[in-house]
């Protein structure tokens, strides 16, 4: 997945000069990397450039040269041994080049808006290849099939599989499978067949190309490529349905491609394919696809099971995810099964269980490592495509190439249209013409086709170079022409874009409600539809599988609750983090309080309110996160103190009290507008659980329990005033005023977890909306406490499981 940052925010503010300098540096580094790469790739150092001469110098400078009597030479203080580190150095240089290119593109904002990154990267590859050739060196065969299939491709696929949106994928699985299997078969045979027919025409001079190689070529070129699709679709933000259809197709057609490729490759030598072979091919397809998925699922379950026991070794949790997935891929490849499907299955299967078991930090690590690797891989693949193009060898044949390109387009369109016609009979949400166009147009080819072509044996396939040229041209055509024009076409056709998912709790409730409702209606109708089976699967999952694979008590948690907790978490963190931030939130003035929705006739009695039985570990988690964020807030504010305030009170001893007094007065004034911290409306403060919680969180706290003024919990949601960071600064200066007590915010932190359900965060309000407690005078001590919180001890790593 391309992690192309869509925030171009700092670019505008950078000066032109800075940007120019950075570009210059990038270009220089580019030059610098090209030469050693080129030089190092060729064994003979006849190059005029300095890097080439290094090897020679190496020989002469070495001590203990053979065949020389020992002559005492001056001790070599400095030496160079390039051959020693050559390979890793080259690899690092390529990766560095790729990353710098990614950086560079975002410095030119208009370009990255018009041209998709993949195109630019191919161009860079072409340039690099060109430079290497100009330097007189042999271009290294970088897009070696082994390298591609074993190193470059897996991270991208794993990233896609792990973060696959399961719901839309399973809802559309029928459509995706039909496009992937039947669509690819149709493409392969149509292209192969028509190409063969064209080759037989007199005057084309291609009659030596037989049927089977043509079919093989057809099967190589017909597969939609996941890397290219991801790269382009990521930037056009198309709606979820279309995205998952094209992307799912590109993933699942791997099985078909593998089978067809091996089938035709095997028998191209023999020159014919009998019916028996075709039948075996079908069997092989079933084995390849189902086997791949099975292998992936097994490894996925293994990974989930392993993650159950990692509570004491949180640091290596991400490693399990990566290694198990990679082994799934390799195992599948070993048996000639579909490695891509194995990887997808592994990632998708393990994810819900692993995420319930691992810590928050591990989750972040996995996410960022996957994104990083897949991003670098993708960049490298496109650059290498460019380099490989320059490397050749090429055998250009106008007829063959142009017919290929035309046929690809034609067959894709025919395939999509006819399949959609059939599929729409079974779909509830029909695919419109616009959808069909995008699906057809989004069928991009990419590096997989090239690598498969590269794997062909030159002896069996003398027209290999012609094939490669045609494949590369097709890839260029789809990536450049289709990739560049799809974005304006999407806008032109007004295709529905991706809705920014602001998952509201109401929608979640009703999604769950609908699921159960529809299952019920299906049962009443007597119809075993897919809701029925989905429900059965979920129940089976909950009853047996989750018990095995999820550590502790987490497996009982239903999805709605998990969603709710996750939302709370997110909002809690957002709120606290932005609380110390300088940015002024432009939130709407929103004033809806609990009081407004609680029925007046029922003031809930304090004794009736039973507090929920949340697990201790969950409370710990929330508390830790809050504390660490509050701690950060405080530290950030301290830095504001040091640099932004004119008079630093710590250096100004005698004026300290005066200043503090002044600030206190200002603070009092600002109290009515200020709301800086998380609070929870007043709860029955003397309940034993509350006390216990307070004791647990801070044994040294003095209790200053303030009984709530009204029994109905109230939340006022207000704007944070622009002065709030300063105000908070000021309060930080003030030492703990013992009498004022620390009750409130500590209680708030405790309240947070104890009375979680009473913490209302307006979900769709802007950042920085603060929740304020009732009662003016209690805010001050709360703030103090909040900021003078000693914070978590450093060695106490946050090691609680991450909430899914």
């Amino acid at each position: 997945m391309l992690v192309s940052a869509h925030s171009h925010s700092p670019v505008g503010s950078r000066s032109f000069l800075e940007r120019g300098l950075l570009l210059l540096v990038v270009l220089m580094l580019l030059e610098g990397t090209v030469l050693p790469l080129g030089a190092a790739s060729s064994p003979d150092t006849s190059a005029p450039n300095g890097a080439g001469g290094l090897d020679h110098r190496d020989d002469h400078r070495g001590i203990g040269h053979d065949n020389m009597t020992f002559q005492k030479k001056p001790f070599p203080v400095l030496g160079i041994n390039y051959g020693h580190i050559r390979l890793p150095f080259e690899i690092a240089l390529w990766v560095l080049l790729a990353s710098l290119m990614k950086l560079g593109f975002h410095l030119i904002p208009r370009l990255s808006g018009i041209v998709p990154e993949s195109c630019l990267l191919i161009v860079v590859g072409l340039l690099v290849g060109g430079f290497i050739k100009l330097a007189g060196e042999d271009v290294p065969p970088v897009l070696d099939s082994n390298l591609f299939f074993l190193i470059l491709l897996p991270p991208i696929i794993l990233d896609a599989g792990y973060f696959l949106p399961i719901r839309p994928f399973t809802e559309n699985i029928g459509t995706i499978l039909i496009f992937a299997v039947i669509g690819t078969l149709w493409n392969a045979f149509f292209i192969g067949g028509v190409l063969y027919a064209v080759c037989q025409i007199e005057g084309v001079h291609l009659s030596q190309v037989e049927l089977l190689p043509c079919l093989l070529f057809g099967s190589i070129i017909s597969a939609v490529d996941p890397v290219a699709v991801l790269a382009v679709f990521e930037e056009i933000h198309i709606n979820e349905l279309l995205h998952i259809l094209v992307f799912g197709e590109s993933l699942l057609n791997d099985a078909v491609t593998v089978v067809l490729y091996h089938l035709f490759e095997e028998y191209a030598g023999a020159g014919e394919v009998t019916l028996m072979d075709a039948f075996l091919g079908v069997i092989s397809f079933l084995i390849v696809s189902i086997g791949g998925v099975a292998v992936g699922t097994i490894y996925g379950f293994l990974a989930a099971f392993t993650s159950r026991f990692t509570s004491h070794t949180r640091v290596i949790e991400p490693l399990f995810v990566f290694v198990y997935s990679y082994m799934a891929y390799l195992s599948a490849e070993m048996f000639h099964l579909s490695g891509i499907m194995a990887l997808i299955a592994c990632g998708a299967v393990m994810r819900p269980y692993v995420e319930a078991n691992i810590s928050h930090k591990s989750h972040t690590t996995i996410k960022y490592f996957l994104k990083m690797w897949s991003s670098v891989s993708e960049t490298l693949i496109f650059i290498f495509l460019g380099v490989a193009t320059v490397a050749g060898p090429h055998a250009w044949n106008w007829t063959f190439v142009s017919v290929t390109i035309i046929l690809c387009l034609v067959s894709r369109v025919i395939g999509v249209v006819s399949l959609t016609f059939i599929i729409n009979k079974f779909r509830i949400i029909k695919l419109t013409n616009k959808d069909q166009f995008i699906i057809a147009y989004g069928g991009l080819r990419g590096a997989i086709a090239f690598s498969l072509g590269y794997l062909l044996d030159n002896d069996h396939f003398p027209m290999r170079t012609m094939f490669l040229t045609a494949i590369i041209t097709e890839i260029f055509f789809t990536v450049f022409v289709q990739g560049m024009t799809i974005k304006p076409l999407v806008d032109l056709l007004a295709v529905k874009k991706k809705q920014e998912a602001k998952r509201s709790i109401n929608e979640e409730i009703h999604t769950q409600f609908l699921d159960h409702l529809l299952t019920g209606i299906e049962d009443i109708c007597g119809h075993y539809g897919h809701h029925h089976w989905k429900d059965k699967l979920n129940r089976f999952n909950k009853k047996y599988i989750k018990k095995c694979l999820i550590a502790g008590e987490r497996y009982k948690e239903p999805q709605l609750i998990a969603f709710y907790h996750k939302m709370e978490f997110k909002q809690a963190i957002e709120l606290v983090e932005s609380g110390g931030g300088v940015k002024v939130p432009a939130a709407l003035p929103l004033q809806v309080s609990m009081q407004n929705i609680q029925p007046k006739k029922q003031p809930p009695a304090a004794t009736e309110r039973a507090l929920p039985q949340f697990t201790k570990s969950r409370e710990e988690e929330i508390r830790k996160i809050l504390r660490s964020n509050l701690q950060k807030t405080r530290q950030r504010l301290r830095s504001y103190n040091r640099h932004t305030l004119v008079a630093d009170p710590y250096e100004d001893g005698w004026g300290e009290y005066v200043l503090k007094k002044q600030r206190m007065i200002e603070l009092e004034k600002k109290m009515t507008q200020m709301s800086n911290y998380l609070t929870v409306p007043a709860a029955p403060s003397d309940s034993p659980t509350m006390r216990r919680a307070r004791l647990a969180s801070d044994p040294n706290a003095f209790y200053n329990i303030k009984t709530p003024s009204d029994s109905v919990p109230t939340i006022h949601v207000e704007l944070a005033s622009p002065q709030s960071p300063d105000s908070v600064n000021l309060v930080d200066e003030v030492p703990k005023k013992g009498a004022m007590g620390q009750g409130l915010s500590q209680r708030n932190a405790a309240d947070m977890k104890e009375d979680r359900e009473r913490m209302m965060m307006p979900p769709s309000a802007g950042k920085g909306e603060k929740v304020e407690d009732d009662g003016g005078e209690t805010k001050n001590p709360g703030l103090q406490r909040c900021l003078s919180d000693p914070g978590p001890s450093n060695e106490d790593e946050e090691d609680e499981p991450f909430l899914p």
Binding site: G526, Q591, I597
Partner: protein, 215 residues
């Protein structure tokens, strides 16, 4: 209709088809199912639904059954519930789950959406007062979580409160501290669920129904 009739009764079916939009085939299949559930009688009662084994494990069981007997779902401007329903009412309730036709204009889609959301609204609004109060909403969430054991009650309350607050914020925007948000009206309900694409999600396939396949 005492005798088992395997052939579709043409004029009746025509009337049903016109009223609900089902095809003759679908009406025939649903009729078979109706007879199966009601043990070949004319009227279906609440207890008859209890014979469906799969429904027993559904947390929304009672609400779904109630919806079939809710007058608001098959008669206009009526309230209250009945004790037994005939095939026509059964069909009308089922017709709320029909998928929208392929070529519908935006207004038609809107009508279908309103219709389905009205059904959902009626399911939540158990006291027929036109609004979903906090208590009713809490009940909804509690039922949803009723299978989750001890975690249920308080968290359900919290979730319902949060959801209610969200609706209030979206619909009302600004409220004085002493104003009281009565409950979710139908218009507010429409507003908060407009992104859910109800007209396509709240559907089941009525093709290939074969009641003989299941119990």
């Amino acid at each position: 209709m005492g005798a088992l009739q395997s052939l579709p009764d043409d004029p009746e079916y025509k009337y049903f088809a016109r009223k609900t939009g089902f095809s003759f085939e679908q009406i025939g299949i649903l009729h078979k199912r109706f007879k199966q559930l009601s043990h070949n009688e004319d009227k279906l009662r609440r207890d008859d639904f209890n014979t469906i084994p799969d429904l027993a494990s559904n947390p929304l069981r009672s609400q779904i059954i109630e919806a079939f007997f809710d007058k608001r779902n098959f008669l206009k401007n009526c309230e209250g519930s009945v004790q037994e329903i005939g095939f026509e009412e059964f069909l009308v309730v089922m017709s709320h789950f029909r998928p929208p036709a392929l070529n519908m204009t935006e207004e038609q889609r809107e009508i279908v959406r309103r219709d389905k959301l009205r059904f959902l609204f009626n399911m939540h609004d158990t006291d027929n007062d036109g609004t979903i109060t906090l208590e009713e909403y809490r009940h909804v969430v509690e039922e949803l979580l009723s299978r989750s054991g001890s975690l249920g009650k308080e968290t359900a309350k919290g979730i319902a409160d949060a959801a209610m607050l969200e609706v209030a914020s979206i619909s009302m925007g600004h409220m004085e501290p002493d104003e009281f948000y009565e409950g979710i009206t139908f218009e507010h309900f429409l507003k908060i669920l407009k992104d859910l694409e109800i007209e396509t999600r709240m559907t089941i396939r009525f093709l290939n129904l074969d009641p003989t396949l299941c119990k």
